[in-house]
Each structure stands twice: as C-alpha cells, then as structure tokens.
C-alpha cells in the first residue's frame, strides 16, 4: 500500500543519482558548484524523506509506500520497494547523514572534488535502496553496488594507508556477499521461484537448509556489522577513510548488517535463528568485551572510535538475538543511536583533524581551553556513547540489557562489563584530549565555525530527543517488531515470548 499518490521511495533513491549525474556534467573547475549541487540534492532528499516520518502509519506491520513494477520477468524479479517500522528510521538516518557528509567535507576535500561528491551521493542512493528493497535481487544489487563508491571514497580520499584499507574492506565484504548470493539463489528455488521477500517469509523451509542458509547470510551480514571475528576490516577502513567516509561507514553502512539479520535471517529462517541464538549471543558478548578492551590500548583517535563501534554493535546483535521485544526494539534503537553518536564522534574528529592533521591522541591535550564550544559538543557525544541517562545511549542499552537478561542471564551480566569498560576508555580519551596541559602545538586553534556547528547540531538534538522521549522513535517499531517476533517464535519459544510480554507490562 502506498498512502501517497507519488512514488516517494523511488524519488528518495533517485534524487541523489540525479544529483550525481548533474555534477558529472559540470565542469571540473567549478568545484563550488559541485558542492552546492551536492548540498542541495542531499537536503532535498532529506526533506523528501521527512514525508516518511510524518505520513507513516504506526498501527500496521504491513509494508508502506509500496511500489511494485515488473523488472526482469524471466526470473520473476520485481522492482519492489516499501518500508515498515524496522526500515523507515534507517532511511531517515541515511538521508540525514548525507547532508552532514557533504557539509563536513566542504573544505577538507581538495582533490577530485567533483568525483568525491558524486561518490557520496551514489553511496547515499544505494544505501537508501538497501533499506527499501523488498525484492531480494534488488536488495543484493544495491548492497553490492554500494561497494564501488565506498571503495573509491576510502581509497582515493583516505589517509596514508588508504589503499590497504580500501582493498581489505572491499574483499571482506565481497566474500561475505557472494556467499549470501548463493544462499539467495537456493532460497529462490525453494520458495517457488520468487525473490519477493514477503512471499518468501510465508514459506517454511527444511531445518537443515535453514542452517546452511543462516550461515550463508551470516557471512554477509556479520562482516558488515561487523561481528567478532570478522571485524578486522573495520578499524582499518574507519581509520583511513576521509571523515565523510568514516561517518557513512559508522552511521549507516555497518547498520546494514544488523538490518540484514532483522529483515532476512530472523523471519526467513526462524528455526535456525532460534537454534543459533547461543552462538550469536556468545559472539556478541565477545565483541562487546573484546572491542572495549582493545579500545583502552588505542593511540589513534579514529581507531579508538572504530573499535568502540565493534563493541557497540555487539550490543546491537545481542539485542536482536535476544529474540524478545525489548531486545529487538533496543537493538534497532541502538543502531540508530550508534549511527548518531559514532557519526557525530567521527564528524568531531574530522573537525579537529582539519586543523591539526594528526589523529594521535598524544598530540592533543588541553583542547577545552582552545576550543570550548567544540569540547562541549564532544562531551555530550562522549557521555551518550557511555550511555548516561537522558542521552539516547542509555535508552538503547537499557532495553538491550533487559532483553539480554531475559534471554540469557550470563550474556546480560557479561555485556554490562562492556558498559563499564566503555565508560573507562571514553572518559580517559576525553581527559587526554581535552584536559591536562595544553599541548603547545594546539595554541591559537580556532573554535568551530558556523558550518561545523550546523553539522553537529542535528546530532546533538537527536541525542537528547531520543534520550528524553524515545517513544517518538520506538513507536515506529512496536507493531513491526511484534510481527517479526511472532514469526520467529512461532511454534516454539513461546515461553520466552510470555516472559517478555510480562516484563513489558511491568515496565509500562
């Protein structure tokens, strides 16, 4: 069903593509024009996507804003788009991130400006496509196509070790993806020759096949998340990418893995997902603790934040595979939170990197004296990353831990240690960078300008908005998550469902 009279999702996907084509035909020397076109396009896309926020019907789990056209009839492939409560927020996150990426790169990107903005806009379009696709083939197309611009963003505009990082990123992701492709084709033949995800979800697949498929999908999604032990591309990619690239990676791209689990693994392969819960919980807990401990040893700002992503995404997968309402809703909200906070942290690092051109923590110190506004912003994001109440991090983590405890007490307890270590490394980082003696190299550093403040402001607002009144976002999730869990827990696991429901009642 599409409550609007126009194909809103296609417009959101293809407006950035259009923008990139316009930039492509502009002259190479018109760099400012390219920037403004990119900015206008991304703002336009964001404004368009706001319609999804306002017109979304929260009372149904059905797909909304649906578009369906026959595309490759030989294989029964359709151009099939739609969003539900699980995906709609990620579309908004993607469109918002695009604006911030354009803004933060305004002055820091000086070579191949035209190509840079084309790559950013194309990445945005493909990311939105991933979240909107309801056809598995279309999904895979967007999922893979996004590698091309992202590979270039890291490899062309990144740091000193960028080529290594870019190729590692590409190969890791590709190996996972092609295994998923095999899984998709197997699924196609077992669901009566269709790529339609909604139809696939109504079928029941033999248990052994589900197991195989689960691991095939795991290969693709776990690399993207990234789950331990396939996370090693992430520190390199995040560290070497230009600021905008790190932001896209942290805010949206790695969410696609977790989204994949939610959209495909759980509803398509419910029995296998349930059976594999212990494994997934274990991997999540390892990621939480391992990521956090590694963070303590980092000397590079971006690398530290990158490893903190491993830890935070561990929370997300923990929540998802708790397979109860709080866990899953918390997981989804935490994906959003992580996108906002880590995105904001990378933006912040980018701001200071543009001034000092160093990422080493040791080169900083006493920044609070030189850049007071900046320090205030950074403080908020730090506290949110730790999960202080009244910030968004708290809401997500508490929901996940509730879900985690319900599913497996030990996992819940161990995950909590992750939060403690998290507070340790984040506060220690803040202390080393912003307090203590002012590093002589940092004298006369200008504070954030208006462009940079505008870039960070939306993130700041979101941190408190979600922190104080999460329901304006959680309300999108309830019905869809409920529907998802009914599918996953159908025919078994009803006991957990009951417990989860009781706890939810108590909270309310």
């Amino acid at each position: 069903m599409n409550q609007l009279s126009y194909p809103i999702l296609s417009m959101i996907i293809f407006l950035p593509v259009l923008g990139s084509l316009v930039i492509l035909i502009t002259r190479r020397s018109w760099e400012t024009v390219a920037k403004w076109i990119a900015l206008a396009t991304s703002i336009g896309t964001f404004l368009l996507s706001l319609t999804l926020f306002t017109d979304f019907d929260k009372t149904t789990h059905k797909m909304q804003f649906v578009e369906k056209h026959s595309w490759i009839p030989n294989w029964n492939i359709n151009y099939y788009l739609g969003v539900d409560g699980i995906s709609v927020l990620f579309v908004l996150l993607s469109t918002l991130t695009a604006i911030l990426c354009v803004l933060i790169s305004w002055e820091s990107i000086t070579k191949k400006v035209k190509e840079f903005y084309i790559a950013i806009l194309l990445t945005t379009a493909f990311m939105i496509g991933v979240f909107c696709s309801l056809d598995f083939f279309l999904f895979y197309l967007f999922w893979e196509a996004m590698l091309i611009p992202m590979f270039l963003i890291i490899g062309v505009w990144g740091g000193p070790n960028r080529i290594y990082a870019a190729i590692k990123f590409f190969l890791y992701t590709l190996v996972g993806s092609v295994l998923m492709l095999v899984g998709i084709i197997v699924l196609y033949f077992n669901s009566g020759n269709t790529f339609d995800i909604l139809t696939m979800m109504t079928m029941k697949y033999p248990y052994t096949m589900q197991m195989w498929l689960f691991w095939a999908f795991f290969a693709a999604f776990a690399v993207k998340v990234p789950m331990w032990p396939v996370h090693t591309w992430l520190p390199d990619a995040h560290t070497e990418a230009p600021t905008a690239g790190s932001v896209i990676l942290a805010a949206v791209l790695i969410k696609m893995g977790a989204y994949g689990f939610l959209r495909f693994s759980l509803p398509l392969l419910p029995e296998a997902s349930r059976a594999m819960t212990p494994v997934m919980l274990t991997l999540s807990v390892i990621a939480i603790i391992y990521g956090a401990v590694i963070c303590l040893a980092q000397t590079d700002l971006k690398r530290l934040i990158a490893y903190s992503s491993v830890s935070h995404m561990g929370f997300v997968t923990l929540g998802i595979f708790a397979l109860n309402t709080q866990g899953v809703e918390g997981g989804i909200l935490q994906m959003l939170n992580h996108g906002i906070v880590t995105g904001a942290l990378f933006l912040s690092v980018g701001i200071v990197y543009d001034r000092t051109h160093t990422r080493q923590i040791a080169d900083y110190g006493g920044l609070a004296t030189e850049m007071p506004i900046y320090s205030a912003f950074f403080m908020v994001f730090t506290l949110s990353a730790i999960g202080l109440p009244a910030t968004n991090g708290f809401v997500g983590e508490i929901l996940i831990l509730l879900g985690g405890f319900t599913a497996n007490k030990l996992a819940g307890v161990l995950a909590c240690t992750g939060i403690i270590i998290g507070a340790g490394y984040m506060l220690w980082l803040y202390q080393r960078v912003f307090f203590m003696e002012v590093n002589p190299k940092l004298h006369a550093l200008s504070d954030m300008n208006i462009r940079e403040t505008i870039t960070l402001l939306p993130m700041l607002i979101l941190v408190f908005w979600i922190g104080v009144y999460p329901n304006s976002y959680l309300s999108f999730l309830h019905v869809s998550v409920q529907h998802l869990l009914e599918r996953v827990n159908a025919g078994g696991g009803t006991q957990e469902l009951q417990i989860a429901k009781t706890i939810l009642e108590v909270i309310r």
């Binding site: 190479r28 294989w75 196509a145 490899g155 590709l174 492709l181």
Partner: protein
C-alpha cells in the same frame, strides 16, 4: 546423374561472408587508404548480419544446421568483428602494420567460427575449426617485425596443431565406434546401443575435451594463452579472447549436449575438475601479473571456467546462461581492450599495469570507462558481468551443483583483487609517467557501444535473457 542443388538458405550468411572476405582481399590491392577497407568490412558484416535472421534450416544432408543456437553465436561473432575492427583501425597504423589483409583474415577467421557454430557433422566442425585457427595464427603474428608477436604466432600454431590432432583422433575413435560423424546419428547410436560407459567413448570424449579445452583456454590446456595474448597485437588479442572462445563453447555445447548427451554423467565428471582448475589457475595466477594483457589472458581463462559451469549444468537453462555469459563477456572484454589499446602510442607500449598509475587524473574519462569494465569483469552489480554470472550460478544451482557454485563465487571474490588493482592504480596513485592517449573516432565508438551495453544489460537484462532463451528453444 542428377545433382539437385542443396538448400542454400541455411548457409547463406557464410556464403555472403566468404564473398565479402574475398572482395576485401581484392579491394586491398586497389585502395590505398586502408581505413576504407576497414569500413567496407564493417559495413558488409553489419549488412550480412541481417541475413542471419532469415536463414534457418538443415542442409547438405544434415551436415549443416542453422538454428537459434548457431544464430546467437553468429551474432556474438559479428559483434566481435565489428568491435575488433573499430579498435584496430588506428592501432595497426600505430604498430606500422596497416595492411588490408588484416581485415580479410579477421573475416576468414569469423567464417570458420560460423561454420563451427553451425556444424552438425564432426568433419564440418573440423573444417571450420581449422579455418578459424589458421587465420588466427597469422593474425597473432601480424606484427612481423616484432619478435614477441612472431613467437606468439609460432607457439599458438604448434600447440594449436597439437590440439587439432587430438580432435581428429577423437573423431576417428567415434567413427570407429559408431560408424558415423553425424552428431545426431552419434547420439542415436550411443543411446540405442547403451554405450554410455564405454571406455572407447570415454577416451574419445577426453580427446574432445582436450581439443575444445585448448580453444576455450581451459586449464590445463591454457598454457598458450598468456604468451599468445601478450605477444599478439592488442586488437587481435581482443578478437581472439572473444571469438575463438565463443566458437569453442559453441561446439562444446553442440557436441556434448547432442552427440554425447547420453554420457553426460561421465563427461561431467571430467569437466567439473577442469572447470575448477580453470577458475583456480586463471584467478590465482592473474594476481601476480604485471603486464595487463597477460593479466587479461588469465582473466579470460578464469571466465572460461565460469562459462563451463553452464555446460556442466547440461540442460537448456545452462546453455542459455553460457550463451548469455559469452555475449556479455564480448562486450566487457573488448571494452577493456579498447581502453588498453589507447595507451599504446608511438614509442610507448602502455602494457604495464604501472602505466595506469594516476590515469584518472590525466584522463578521467578513460579511467572511468576502465573502472566500469573492471567492475563488470569482477561481476559487481549494476554491470552486465553480474547478470552473466548470476544466470550461470542460478542455472547451476537449479541443476544441483550448489557446491560448485560456492567454489565459483569464492574464486570470483579472489578475482576482485586483480581487477581492483587496476582501479587502484588509476584512482589512488599519482601519475608517474606522462601517458598520451591515442584516441580515434572509431575507438571511441567501440568504447561507447561496449560501455552502454555493459551498463544497459546490467540494469535491464530482460531483452538479452529472452533472446538467449529463445535461441535454445529448438536445440
């Protein structure tokens, strides 16, 4: 004595093509400007292409067949001729071998391929194969003042002759076994007598695999490919990597799925390791190449491995996916060669991968096109290469070869590394040498056609898929 004239309609494109090749050979004596000869060859090929759609049927007592299957392959051959000539015109002038025979040799070689695609008798098949091969040997050594070119021609000739001998041996065993060389009659005989597990038949099948494996450059019969691809003129390399390979697959499909269809369990057992080895050798050795033509030679070996999956599948869907793949491969591979050819200029070879350093800075358009072709060869959507692989994998999984597809996708992921390396050199390094591109209008046309085709098929593959499917309808 009464000799009724056989039905010439099925063989009309070949007759016209032969006439064209002879006319081009004669005109070469009269016309000083070789560009005109090239133009006539292309225009003639395009016109004769129209006759493909009207010719169909069986003639010469069942020795020659023109059906959807052969027509599809002939379209690949014609595209190959036109695209190869487009990229040759300027190039052979730069190489100082601007002779008219070049074009007639390309045409003669193509006639050989057409005969192969249409052969319904092993002797006719052999005729076509030899015509194709002999013309290509000469083409490979066309730059006669360069030692490497001559060496490659000799190497190709010696190994090619060797593989022809295998083919003849295989044919003679089959003849001894069944008393016929007619492909359909062989199939009927094998089915009737229940010869499926016969040792002599297996030996003959093995010889066929050796001979055809040589033509499609499948491992372990691929040894010639890197040297020949490197030494031959670049335009000929482009021509060879598509035409003879497609022709090899055409006869492989026809012989194995018609004559030997009853023994398909047996030959699948031989072809599966061949396919895996081909993908492994192609993709892994390509990783360490420093010469781009050599790298693409190994890449072409690897692609033969993927296409072999279509034959192994051994059903209509598999054949259609293999044909679809070869068509797409023609576009993306000749496209890549069209970029490579531009780097060759007076006094500059432009064949080292390091010559691509910083190309995006000096020649952004050429770099972007190369990027598209490289991603297409890797098989990343939304390019045609992805559609080609997807179809092959789908057909193979449907036939129950899921494990083989997993092997294939792993190798496909490995291949990403060496294709990406080109992209990396172009986009992520700074230019070291000042590369001057040899641009020409005709090469630009070739680039335009191939790039548009790669992107168009990547996004809207329906037309090509329908065509491939329709082509195997009467097989």
């Amino acid at each position: 004595m009464n000799f009724p004239l056989p039905d010439l309609n099925p063989v009309m494109p070949e007759i016209l093509m032969t006439a064209l090749a002879l006319i081009v050979l004669l005109l070469d004596l009269l016309i000083r400007k070789k560009e005109v000869v090239a133009l006539i060859s292309m225009a003639g090929t395009a016109l004769i292409g129209l006759s493909l759609f009207t010719s169909s049927g069986i003639t010469f007592g069942g020795m020659y067949i023109s059906d959807g299957y052969s027509t599809f392959f002939k379209i690949i051959f014609f595209l190959n001729v036109i695209l190869s000539i487009l990229i040759s015109i300027k190039y052979i002038a730069v190489e100082k071998v601007n002779y008219g025979e070049y074009y007639s040799l390309i045409l003669f070689s193509t006639i050989g391929m057409m005969i192969m695609a249409s052969a319904s008798d092993l002797i006719v098949l052999y005729l076509g194969l030899e015509l194709m091969a002999l013309s290509t040997y000469v083409l490979a050594g066309f730059i006669r003042h360069r030692l490497k070119s001559t060496e490659s021609a000799l190497k190709y000739f010696l190994l090619g002759a060797f593989s022809s001998a295998f083919l003849l041996y295989g044919i003679s065993i089959i003849y001894g076994l069944t008393g016929t060389t007619d492909i359909k009659a062989i199939a009927a005989f094998i089915a009737e007598k229940g010869l499926a597990g016969n040792l002599a038949l297996l030996l003959s099948i093995s010889f066929f695999i050796v001979a055809f494996g040589f033509k499609i450059a499948a491992a372990p019969f691929h040894m010639w490919a890197p040297d020949v691809y490197e030494g031959a003129p670049t335009s000929v390399t482009a021509f060879m990597s598509v035409g003879p390979k497609a022709a090899g697959f055409a006869v492989l499909g026809r012989v194995f799925l018609t004559a030997f269809v009853a023994a398909k369990v047996d030959w699948a057992l031989i072809l599966i390791p061949v396919a895996i080895l081909t993908m492994a050798v192609g993709n892994i050795i390509a990783l360490s190449q420093t010469n781009i033509k050599r790298m693409l030679a190994y890449s072409s070996i690897a692609h033969a491995g993927y296409a072999l999956l279509g034959i192994i599948t051994a059903n209509g869907e598999g054949l259609a996916s293999m044909m679809n793949y070869l068509m797409i491969y023609a576009f993306m591979n000749i496209g890549a060669f069209a970029v490579i050819i531009m780097l060759r200029s007076e006094g500059f070879r432009g064949e080292d991968i390091s010559d691509y350093e910083g190309l995006s800075k000096t020649h952004p358009l050429a770099a972007m096109l190369m990027l598209i072709f490289m991603f297409s060869l890797t098989g990343i959507p939304p390019t045609a290469g992805f559609i080609g692989k997807f179809y092959i994998f789908m057909a193979a999984i449907n036939a129950g070869y899921t494990w083989l597809v997993i092997v294939a996708v792993i190798f496909s992921a490995i291949s990403a590394y060496f294709y990406l390396r080109i992209v990396m050199y172009m986009y992520m390094r700074d230019p070291k040498t000042d590369v001057v591109l040899t641009t020409s209008f005709s090469n630009g046309v070739a680039l335009g056609i191939t790039a548009v085709a790669v992107l168009f098929i990547g996004v809207l593959p329906s037309a090509l898929l329908n065509f491939a499917k329709a082509a195997i309808a009467g097989f």
